[in-house]
Amino acid sequence: MHQTGDKLIKWLLMALAFTALTSLLLIAIFIFKEGVPFIARVGFKDFLLSSDWQPQAGHFGIYPMIVASLLVTLGAMLVGAPLGIACAVFLNEFVPKHVTRIIKPTIELLAGIPSVVYGFIGVVVVAPLIRSQFGGPGLSMLCASLILGVMVLPTIISISTDVLASVPNAFREGALALGATRWQSVHMVILKAGRSGIVAAVILGMGRAIGETMAVIMVAGNTPQIPHSVLDSVCTLTAKIAIEMGSATGAHRQALFAIGVVLFIMIMMFNSIAMMAIKKRFAGK
């Protein structure tokens, strides 16, 4: 009796264990099912490389949105990566452990602040500042990059800190024993040893930035155009989906799901590269 009961429970738990995988497959299937036939109908090239987005007229080109998403993500990385890596190095190599133990959770609280709040800060503080200092509409690529750059900080800092902590102490001691200063040991030894992991942290940050929606809608201005300067208003892939989803029907809605497909593939690519880099690092240990 006990035996059969235990076996039943084992099967039940195994079924539960496949929930995450099943959900992932369902998500992929349902988004692809809506989006892929649409891309096939419009034509791969016309969908990805045309700049003409007029749902009423049946024109669905997302080229400006792809460019905007990539540029905003790049901008966010230019802000977030140096700042995040610097933070991680400082906390891990230059500050006593008990101080780190207070500062690190404080920074992780940054991750808890909802993205709409960041967006709001962008609208009421950063955008007016850009408008008065540099001109332009304020709500712009620059504003989106700054806000997203701050939003990816917790991801970059917490993964980089873990990576740096996993560099064996013998590396540090060896460098210091040879007469290197702290900074020399960091940039000559520790950063080299942790390179792949830090790259992974930055790529995961990119995945977060390119997928972020609500904050971007609020601060990017949402004009679907190829930007000529960082002060121009842009519309990202995510923003396009979220803004038009409420009112879209028929082919228009399918087009938005097709954008979802493009986004899904981009993010899966970023994340698998990062995951492979992290796995390789920790498997080598």
Partner: protein, 279 residues
């Protein structure tokens, strides 16, 4: 020309320290700015009154209710699946291709952005299953979103229970399931609760996945089949449509306070859990 190492060291400390200081300053600024403008708006009436004119005047009571119910419903759905997965992975099997696939699926799910969850929830729960915009659609979508967090934290917590506990339990004649239920899970509880709190924090702040699945109705929900609006969605609508900056700040203050409270409690619990473990 070579700069002496002593100087590069000093320069590095200044720059890296400056970056850390800047990060902390941004965090403090965001919180102080929102609370500074939002707290003066708050009153008991603001929390307990119904909104008027789409939120232009009045309070935020229905959104408070939505913010309580939606994350709770999501956790009720995600918790059995998440803890079940963690128990299976750590107690009932060894590393094999199946567990690798499960872990891969969990990792991928964790990287999916909330707008994709929103799209999926809309096309699957709202449209295909004909559930409409309602609390249940929203909760199911959020449950999938937080599943990876719950699986990971539960697995960590279960792994931290000493093997000797299990051996003693089994040697007393308990079955594996009895051991899990009476020995492993009670000892892993603080860790599991930490994961739950982190997940609640994420649900409270979520917008994109909620607005397309649970809708944005300002009426008080009577069942899980009614639409609701959470504080985050309400704040987004107030701010984006420029309905009322004052009420937007007030809502943001309540939002930030709830997320900070939930996250601080979970960090505190995690800290206690880790220090007990290493004793």
């Amino acid at each position: 020309m070579r700069i002496p190492p002593r100087n590069t060291q000093a320069l590095a400390v200044a720059l890296l320290g400056g970056a850390t200081g800047l990060t902390l300053a941004i965090l403090v600024f965001v919180i102080v700015f929102i609370l500074g403008k939002g707290l003066p708006v708050l009153s008991l009436g603001f929390l307990l009154d119904n909104p008027q004119e789409m939120g232009k005047a009045g309070g935020i009571f229905p959104t408070l209710v939505g913010t309580l119910i939606l994350p709770l419903a999501a956790i009720i759905i995600a918790l059995p699946a998440g803890v079940g997965t963690a128990v299976y992975l750590s107690e009932y099997t060894v590393e094999n291709p199946a567990t690798r696939i499960i872990r891969f699926g969990t990792d991928c799910l964790a990287g999916i952005p909330s707008i994709i969850f929103g799209l999926f929830g809309f096309i699957f729960f709202v449209t295909t299953l004909k559930m409409g915009w309602c609390i249940l659609s929203g909760a199911l979508t959020l449950a999938i979103m937080v599943l990876p967090t719950i699986i990971r934290t539960s697995e960590e917590a279960i792994k931290a229970v000493p093997a000797s506990y299990r051996e003693v339990s089994c040697s007393l004649g308990a079955t594996r399931w009895e051991t899990v239920l009476k020995v492993v899970l009670p000892n892993a509880l603080p860790g599991i609760v930490t994961g739950v709190m982190l997940s609640i924090g994420r649900c409270i702040g979520e917008t994109a996945a909620v607005i397309f699945t649970a809708g944005a109705s300002l009426r008080l929900p009577h069942s899980v089949f009614d639409s609701t609006r959470t504080m985050a969605v309400h704040f987004y609508i107030l701010a984006r449509e420029g309905i009322s900056n004052e009420n937007a700040f007030g809502t943001a203050a309540v939002l930030i306070l709830s997320v900070l409270l939930v996250n601080s409690v979970s960090y505190w619990m995690m800290h206690r859990f880790i220090s007990r473990r290493t004793k």
